[in-house]
Symmetry: C2
Subunit: 358 residues, 2 copies
């Protein structure tokens, strides 16, 4: 654990510019003084912000870059035209070995496409996956769900690899000694669903060990429950269900707002309910669940949410530091190899990524 931890930061990718990101770095450094940062962004702007924080300055190296990937940019275009961007450079530092992990709060699709393109698949991994943390009734407040769209389809072997990667990620993030893995299906009974899912269930069941438990098939309504800590599905289903949940949450929020605007009395009610509503919103903010990590690449990338403030950025950096400390990508690759779940080191990442194949 005495290894020098270097985190590569995309300082310009978020909605709010570099200020909250530097505040978050300062915060993370206060609780972990062994951190070092490669800060990709505008030298003048970042220099000025660092002038006010001399303690942080000593742990930072600024890498000047001014191109910023727009939040609405298409991944394919970002991949083609964004080679001078702070996002590209942040990931590239990991590929070059200058940093162990990259953190960005920029455009998710672009980050995914660039990460897969620059870092490539780790040896023995058939398909990388995107894992998100999903607000749940668990004591620590979240479950892990993957794949959220690195690839659209997954066979039994891919799903087994997701199960292993997801359970390692749950152990790292929440300290769960033996995460419970569930496989998403249309019903809990073993005979349910398409044959390839039943094959995957058999494969995951036989690979279960002291490192994870397999609880069998789970359903869409188990996502926010305590049925499983890790919910595994293919990238097509994952992408659709993430957007379905976000859409549902937004629709409820809008309906709630409309209901409270309905009359003078309901506006008064809203005043009284304000703190409660705020408390709830903080707990289930879909933007928090919108972040993710990319698993199965030659290097770690953490996606912080676009509107992250200092606290949000600090958590993303703390997660990134844990990934660097444990050499997480290699730990996962070794784990897969020991299960015999990995294929021989093979072809480079194909272009099936949801974000990359536009």
């Amino acid at each position: 654990m005495n290894r020098r931890i270097v985190i590569s930061i995309d300082a310009m990718g978020g909605d709010r510019g570099p200020a909250p990101i530097l505040l978050g770095m300062d915060r993370a450094l206060a609780s972990n003084p062994s951190l070092h940062f490669l800060v990709h962004g505008d030298e003048t702007q970042i220099g000025k912000l660092l002038d006010r924080r001399p303690a942080l300055r000593g742990h930072c190296e600024i890498r000047h870059a001014t191109q910023v990937v727009n939040m609405s940019e298409k991944p394919s275009r970002a991949l083609r035209d964004g080679r001078d961007s702070t996002m590209w450079r942040a990931i590239e530092s990991v590929a070059k070995g200058e940093a162990q992990v990259a953190v960005s709060s920029g455009n998710t699709g672009a980050l995914m496409a660039m990460s897969i393109f620059i870092l490539r698949k780790a040896p023995g991994i058939d398909r990388p996956a995107i894992a998100v943390i999903w607000p749940s009734q668990a004591p620590h407040g979240y479950n892990i769900v993957l794949d959220m769209g690195a690839d659209v389809r997954a066979d039994a072997r891919n799903l087994l690899q997701y199960a292993v990667m997801g359970s390692e990620y749950a152990r790292l993030s929440f300290g769960i000694a033996r995460p419970r893995v569930g496989l998403l299906n249309v019903g809990k009974e073993p005979s349910k669903g398409p044959p390839e899912l039943r094959d995957a269930a058999a494969l995951i069941e036989s690979a279960a060990s002291e490192r994870f438990e397999f609880v069998g098939f789970v359903e869409g309504n188990d996502l926010p429950r305590t049925t499983a800590d890790v919910l595994v599905t293919d990238g097509f289903t994952g992408n659709v269900l993430l957007k379905t949940a976000e859409g549902t949450a937004n629709f409820i929020r809008q309906s709630l707002t409309d209901a409270f605007r309905h009359s003078v009395w309901s506006r008064l009610g809203a005043l009284f309910a304000l703190t409660s509503l705020k408390r709830m919103r903080e707990r289930i903010d879909p933007r928090r669940a919108n972040g993710g990590v990319f698993l199965g690449l030659n290097g770690a990338v953490v996606k912080s949410h676009g509107g992250a403030d200092a606290i949000g950025t600090a958590s993303a950096i703390e997660l990134a530091a844990k990934m660097a400390e444990t050499d997480f990508p290699m730990l996962v690759a070794r784990q897969l190899a020991s299960l015999g779940a990995a294929s021989p080191p093979a072809r480079q990442a194909d272009s099936g990524a949801v974000g990359a194949n536009e």
Copy 2:
């Protein structure tokens, strides 16, 4: 439109017994005096309820049956052991031609399994589908989503049939002259997603007519939006996303309840907010979206929600009456045939149904 309309009623299947169902029938009859009912249930119990409603009695024929399919019964078991149930008998009346449509507020899975088993696929339909109404920002308050799990997978041709069935159902339910159909995918761009979805998009696009418009790919967050009136997907994805949305809504409801219980002040806030919360809950009640119709069978079945009161039952009956008046199942089959989208009359329904293959 002068045809005698006979609706077969499962009077015992709901959560609240026959009383609210008979109230709903009475209500529906008041606005449409041409309705007749075959009422499947306990003769004594229903007779007593009808004694208080002589007007309704003249439009009812009671068919005595006392076996009731339990709400938690597995579909496979209901199919095997439920042949004397009010649910089975209600569907059987449609198969025998005694009624044009059946209405039940019982166990959804059992109703689906029995409907497919008893009514079989309509000529020229490759696969039946389950369509649900989904709370949305549309002026009439709902979109149509299908398939919700009649079959787990769907090819391009199946998805085209769902598009046609769904748009006919949207016209019938909401009076939309030219429903806009969207195909669920992981992104809106034409190059997104798996190849079979791109094939399906081409097929649906070429079949678009004055009866429906094709708006292309839509995403999970479009379900409650006004992007499309009809959202088409395979039964696996449909089942997972329905349960995901229900799970999300329940989780938010629970979080809201917790937030309001947090302190004395928030409890006071809850009192003031009560009416607003009730108003919102009525709008987005997931149980309302949980109902559905079975499309593509030799006969029409409407699922009313389990806790339906008189108003809910009356709406289900009004929908059923519209289906009977328009001879909806045959209208859909003709529509498919005219598009060349139907296959030659083929094999009977296979056993791929989500509810039936346990």
